[in-house]
């Protein structure tokens, strides 16, 4: 197969080798497979290949570079423009979105190798597809939303200052992709759902709690979020390695959010100590 693709290679076309870690389930039948994929440089006018387009190429004809016929590789994908976070995986060992990983950038030369692995902090469903349910459960645990339900029309919310908007706009870009959790040495895989309530919530959720606490209407349930973040697995479980802010594809100031929530929880707990509420 690889011989065929190389022989028909035209100017500007090269072969990139994909090493992919596959599995039938979490820790089930884990194996590595290699595929050679022909790619055309973006400057040739046909658009840049990315990791997802290469996975689609493999799916069209799933044959390894040793000529072995296999099955299409399973992966999660949604928007294809780095705003949904579904296709997050380890690419050459670093966590990022596959859709925004351009082959011209990460494998510019003929014969370059790209390694794909599923995220390690979530259980694998199949191949590169992981189950990030814990992340969404944790958002629920910290009441990471604005309460707008009422028995009557609540009217328009209070005005927000431009300064607050500036901060909150950046925080709003979080897509719950899990890059910060994958890079965090304090966030570990937890398969037992029973433990999700006491395991570390991670940077994304702490930042979301800050996002909703800063919201004029969201602030009405501030106490719920601060209580949740002061419990086991809350903001004090952070070890300040600060990998999260480096790994975040949206460059959200996660370490600032952690410190801001550390401050909020400190004040909240001191008030609670003296007021008893």
């Amino acid at each position: 197969m690889s011989n065929t693709t190389t022989s028909i290679a035209q100017a500007g076309t090269r072969t990139v080798r994909f090493r992919i870690k596959r599995a039938d389930g979490h820790k089930k039948n884990v194996r590595w497979e290699e595929y050679d994929v022909p790619v055309t440089s973006g400057s040739e006018g046909s658009g840049s290949a990315n990791v997802i387009s290469c996975l689609q190429h493999i799916a069209a004809n799933p044959v390894t570079r040793h000529g072995e016929r296999t099955t299409p590789i399973t992966y999660d994908v949604g928007c294809l423009e780095e705003v949904c976070g579904s296709c997050t995986m380890l690419i050459n060992g670093h966590v990022r979105q596959a859709c925004s990983c351009l082959i011209d950038t990460c494998a510019p030369r003929d014969g370059d190798v790209i390694t794909l692995e599923p995220m390690t902090k979530f259980p694998v469903i199949r191949d590169l597809w992981v189950d990030r349910a814990r992340l969404f459960e944790t958002l629920k645990r910290t009441s990471a939303w604005v309460p707008i339900d009422g028995t009557y029309h609540l009217g328009a919310g209070p005005m927000e200052t431009p300064d607050e908007q500036q901060v909150r706009y950046k925080l709003s870009e979080c897509m719950s992709c899990g890059c910060c959790l994958e890079a965090c040495p304090q966030y570990l895989i937890e398969e037992d759902v029973e433990n999700w309530d006491s395991a570390f919530v991670g940077a994304a959720v702490i930042s979301q709690a800050r996002y909703f606490n800063m919201h004029e209407t969201g602030a009405s349930t501030k106490k719920l979020r601060l209580d949740a973040l002061s419990e086991a697995g809350g903001v004090s479980d952070c070890g300040n390695a600060q990998n999260c802010v480096k790994a975040c594809p949206k460059e959200i100031p996660l370490t600032e959010s952690i410190a801001a929530m550390g401050r909020a929880v400190t004040v909240h707990k001191i008030k609670q100590f003296f007021s008893g509420q």
């Binding site: 006491s198 002061s230 809350g234 004090s236 070890g239 600032e256 410190a259 550390g262």
Partner: protein
């Protein structure tokens, strides 16, 4: 959760904050006092009044082979040691420190074990600091146990020179403990000196980095800029303490045992011993061993070391 929350879970926040607090008060404050006190074995040289009790009528200091500089250094350090020993409620201060260290250590080990270092994959500076914070904690804990055991609780089996600690002879016994021998270094002494260097360096890093992370934990430094600025302050604190710790170590390792012994004896009123040590050093250079027994500090000096 279906199970009842454990004690640890119910008081999670309080325990975490107490862990952070004890690292600074009292442990960190004690570390600063301890290192600055010990560094007087070098910086005591600029303390012009330290040698006054040893000055003869003509204003010259001459105790054994020791001159003005050494008299100031040992004089200052001995004065500090005596000051600490005369503190009221010293035993309460000690108990508070031991309890704080025990609490910080037990919970620290537990918290450290809740993470998995990943510097291989994410080799960022901050990640290395995180990993180093945990390792220096482990090393520092073992070092503190050794340090208190040998110099406070009187363990002699881990002391190459088998000499128990004596407050009245703090300078000389510490020099002998670090070198493993009163005079030249022994093999065991090399290990003790390396252990001290590693232990002291680890603990200073652990403290300085701990002050930096505590500011984030408590929410004192929020913006990235503030964290960076505070980082420089903490690095400055760390380097200053490294300077104090390393100079103390170098000062004791280079200390002339017999000369320090004479100064201590002159300061703490055992003139007989001061004379005997001098005699030992000057008159019987080839006598293999000479035992001088004091009230409660058995002491061995060997001839020919000078």
């Amino acid at each position: 959760m279906t199970t009842t929350p454990t004690f640890m879970d119910r008081h999670h926040f309080l325990l975490r904050r107490l862990h952070s607090l004890t690292g600074i008060v009292p442990i960190g404050m004690f570390l600063i006092a301890h290192l600055t006190t010990n560094s007087t074995i070098v910086w005591g040289a600029i303390n012009t009044r330290a040698a006054d009790p040893l000055r003869a009528a003509d204003g010259v200091v001459q105790v054994g082979q020791a001159g003005e500089r050494l008299a100031r250094q040992v004089g200052t350090f001995q004065h500090e040691v005596a000051y600490i020993n005369d503190m009221p409620f010293l035993v309460l201060i000690e108990i508070t420190l031991w309890l704080s260290i025990a609490f910080h250590a037990v919970f620290g080990v537990m918290y450290a074990r809740s993470g998995r270092s990943n510097t291989r994959r994410y080799a960022y500076q901050g990640n290395w600091r995180y990993t180093a914070q945990r390792w220096t904690g482990y090393i520092g804990l073992l070092f503190i146990i050794y340090h208190i055991g040998t110099l406070r609780w009187g363990w002699t089996f881990l002391q190459p020179n088998n000499e128990p600690w004596s407050h009245a002879h703090a300078s000389s016994t510490l020099a002998a403990a670090l070198r493993g021998h009163e005079g030249a270094w022994s093999i065991g002494g090399v290990f003790v000196a390396i252990l001290y260097f590693t232990g002291v360096t680890s603990l200073i890093y652990h403290f300085a980095n701990g002050v930096w992370t505590a500011a984030i934990t408590w929410g004192l430094t929020v913006s990235e800029k503030a964290q960076k600025r505070w980082g420089y302050v903490c690095a400055g604190l760390g380097f200053a303490l490294m300077g104090a710790g390393w100079s103390a170590l170098a000062g004791f390792l280079a200390l002339d045992y017999d000369a320090a012994r004479s100064i201590e004896a002159a300061l703490h009123g055992t003139p007989q011993e001061s004379i005997m040590v001098q005699q030992d050093a000057t008159e019987t250079p080839h006598t293999p061993t000479m035992h001088i027994t004091q009230a409660n500090t058995p002491l061995t000096t060997e001839g020919g070391d000078n």
